[in-house]
Every structure is written in C-alpha cells, then in structure tokens.
C-alpha cells in the first residue's frame, strides 16, 4: 500500500479551525495500516459497524477512516499541516515490498 494522492478536503474542518486533507491510498485500509497509524497518537475504534471506523488523534492533528476505504481524512490545526509528512511516512513504512 502506498499514498497515491493527497488533496485538500472539502470537509468543513476549517470551519472548526482545522484544515482537512484527503489521503488516497493504493489499497483498501486494513488492520496493519491502522496499527501503523496508531503509533502516531491515540487510537479509537468502533468495531461493531459493518466496516470498522477508526480515529487517531495526536497533538495538532487527527486521522479518521473506515476499514476497506481507499482513502482517509486528515485534519490539522495548522494550515501548513506540519504533521502530514510523518503520517505519509507511517503509511509508506507499512508498504508491502512487492507494492
């Protein structure tokens, strides 16, 4: 799995003072990716939905996504999103060598 594109999100994160990005992935989100992202902050999961939902919250950022989707939402307190590179690195570290 790797990041295919990152784009500013339409979600009104900015109305709440946050700046949103959509991180598009080459493969569907799975447990291994969630575990990798969990190392960046506090993981919360709702497993009882048909497709489990997760958030990872850290200082100045949050991630949210649904298992099986090929994208996740990233929100940042600062407009220049300094934590974004760490998040992309965490996803790439989870990359399958054959990918």
């Amino acid at each position: 799995m790797h990041v295919t594109t990152v784009e500013r999100s339409f979600e009104p994160c900015s109305e709440s003072g946050w700046y949103g990005y959509d991180v598009h992935l080459s493969e569907p989100i799975d447990g291994a990716l969630i575990d990798a992202l969990a190392a960046l902050g506090r993981l919360s999961r709702i497993r009882t939905l048909k497709r489990p939902f997760f958030t990872v919250r850290g200082d100045g950022f949050l991630l949210r996504g649904i298992t099986g989707d090929r994208f996740l939402r990233a929100g940042f307190a600062k407009k220049d999103a300094p934590e974004l590179s760490d998040i992309l690195s965490a996803i790439d570290a989870n990359r399958d060598p054959a990918d």
Binding site: P12, S16, S44, I46, T48, L49, F53, I66
Partner: protein, 375 residues
Amino acid sequence: MIYLNNAATSYPKPSCVPEAVCQALFAPPREGRRGTLDAGSAEADCRVLLARVLGVKDPERIFFTSGATESFNLILRGLDPAGKTSVVTAYEHNALLRPLWALAGGERVRVACPDRKGIIAPETISELAKDAAFVFVNHCSNVTGAVQGLPALSAAAHASGALLIADVSQSAGLMPLDLDESGADIAVFTGHKALFGPAGTGGFFLRKGVSLPAAKWGGTGTGGKAVLSGEPEQFEVGTQNLSGLAGLAMGASFVLEIGLAEIARTVREKTASLRGALGGMAGVRVYGAPSGGAAVAFNIRGLSPADVGYILLHEYDIVVRTGYHCAPLAADAIGAPEGTVRASLSCLTMQEDLERFLQAVSEIAAGAAEAARCT
C-alpha cells in the same frame, strides 16, 4: 443517498423549479423595466408570489438580491452600524455576524441568549436594547430549529427606539409568515432553502417608511436621465438574475400550492418524531427544545460531530452537516461548544429515509458505547 442537509440548501428541488429555470433561459428575456416585451416578467411574478409566502400585502416592498448574505451586507452598509449599539441573538448566522463585525466591530454588539426552551424572551431584548439602534433576530434557528416570536420582540425593540431586522431564511417557505403584522422593519430571506429556489436568489422585505440608504448603484431601467436615482429600485441595480427568479417563483408557487400551514404541520411532526427518537437513544444528546423549525442538533457520546458526519456519509450514504453551522454563537448558547451534528428536513423528506437515518445513528451510538467500554 439520503439528504438531511436542507437547512443548508434544499434537495431535491421540485422538478418544476429546474424546468422553470431552463424555460427562462430559452425564452426571450422579459425584464420588467428594461424591455418592450409585455408584462409577465420573472421578477414581477416572483415578487407577487413571495409576497404571499412572506405575508406582505405590497409586493413592491420586496427586493431581490443574491441571497441572505448580500441582503445583510447591503442593509448594514445602508444602516451604517459603526459607532452604534446592536443587539443580536445567539442564533444569528455568519451572513449577519461577519458583515456586522466587519463594519461595526464587536465592542458595541450585545448578544441575547435564549432560555432553556431556546426562546429569546422579550424582556431580554428590552434589557439589552436600551440605547441600541438595531436588534437582529434570527426567526428560525438553522441549528436547533427554535422559532422566535417576532411581534413581541419587535415591540421590545421599538420600545427602545431600535429597528428590528429579522432573518427569515429558514422559515420562509417552511411555515406561514406575516411580515406585515410581525413588526419587523426589515426581513431578510434566501431562496434556496425551504422556498426550493436556485442558489443565488433571495432578498429582503423593507417596511414602507423605514429609511435604508442605498449601498450599491447602477442601472435600474427607471429614473430617466437622472444619474443618481433615489427610487426603491436602487436596491436592484444591474441586470437581474431572471432565470434564478423564474426558478424561485416556481418554488414559491410549489409551497403555496401545498399550503404553508400543511408544510409546517408535516415538517413539525416529522421533526418532533426525529427529535424524540434521537433523544431516546443511549449516548445521544439532542439540543434545544421541540419547536417549529426543521433542524435537529445532536451529538453522540465519545465521537466528535465530524466523526459522526464522516461515518454517516461514508458508511451509510447519509448527508448531514457537522460543526458550528455558520452560527458560531449558538454552539455555546445551547451547551455544545464543540459543535453538533445537524439533521435538517424539507417537506419532501421521506419517512423511510428518516427511519434509515435513525437506524444508522443507533448503530453508531451503540458502537461508540462499546468502544468506550473496551478502552
């Protein structure tokens, strides 16, 4: 897709609305004061229909703009609130708050908070409006649906010598209005919500005798050789949005055909049922009290409003609005400082869609509770 974001903009529109827009674009332009074609212009038709919707006997007291935001900007520029005291309710929308703050600053603005039932008491206005020039009242909250009593609040404002400017953006087309009898000096509306018109339509009612200097100038089709016109048409300068007004006229006609009382009854019943069902779910908190509006604001314990909106959209294909809903003062006033999830209906919202929405919220709330137990 299940669409429950009608307080932002209504969807679907009745098919007659886009049809009217298309017909207007294909037909020879009939712009009342600027051509030689017979009467029957979109502007004139729309003004007459809106007068009926808004409860205004004289259609000429209604002026068109691109929506509530432009209306408030024009009105505030005309009234010139700088150096004067204004009172706003905690429910006001940024369409008013941002131009008011930009033109007057926040120091001379007083905020009227609602009681536990979400109502602004006339006594609160009487107290805050002493030496105030303007009182702004959001008639129907886009957050909680709380509906304010305009006649009593107008009387309170007038007793203090202040003008009462109402925002009926949420209530126009959703319930019977009687602006003539409301006491409001000015009332702002938008076309693309419960009136089912296209985006980019709206306007304001200006009571006869209320002075409002113009804030923009241009061609009106009237005034002859006069370079500077002082006529009422000065609020509608430049070529008007004829196709949009044709759609808005059809939207107004649609709601009048159903009947505003019937729309109000249907929406009130569905909203009350929705509010009751959400309030009965473990882990769900509903804000505000039952009232006449079509919005229900809630939160699910353990999840942010944005989390809930994300799950509803991506897992259930349900569209709601999350956050502050462009009414930033309301969040604290109703006890939801981090914002809320808002589900908002129109008279076209289907009961089965509401049932699917309730099932989704129930599953999410149960999941959040289970997650909390596991951590």
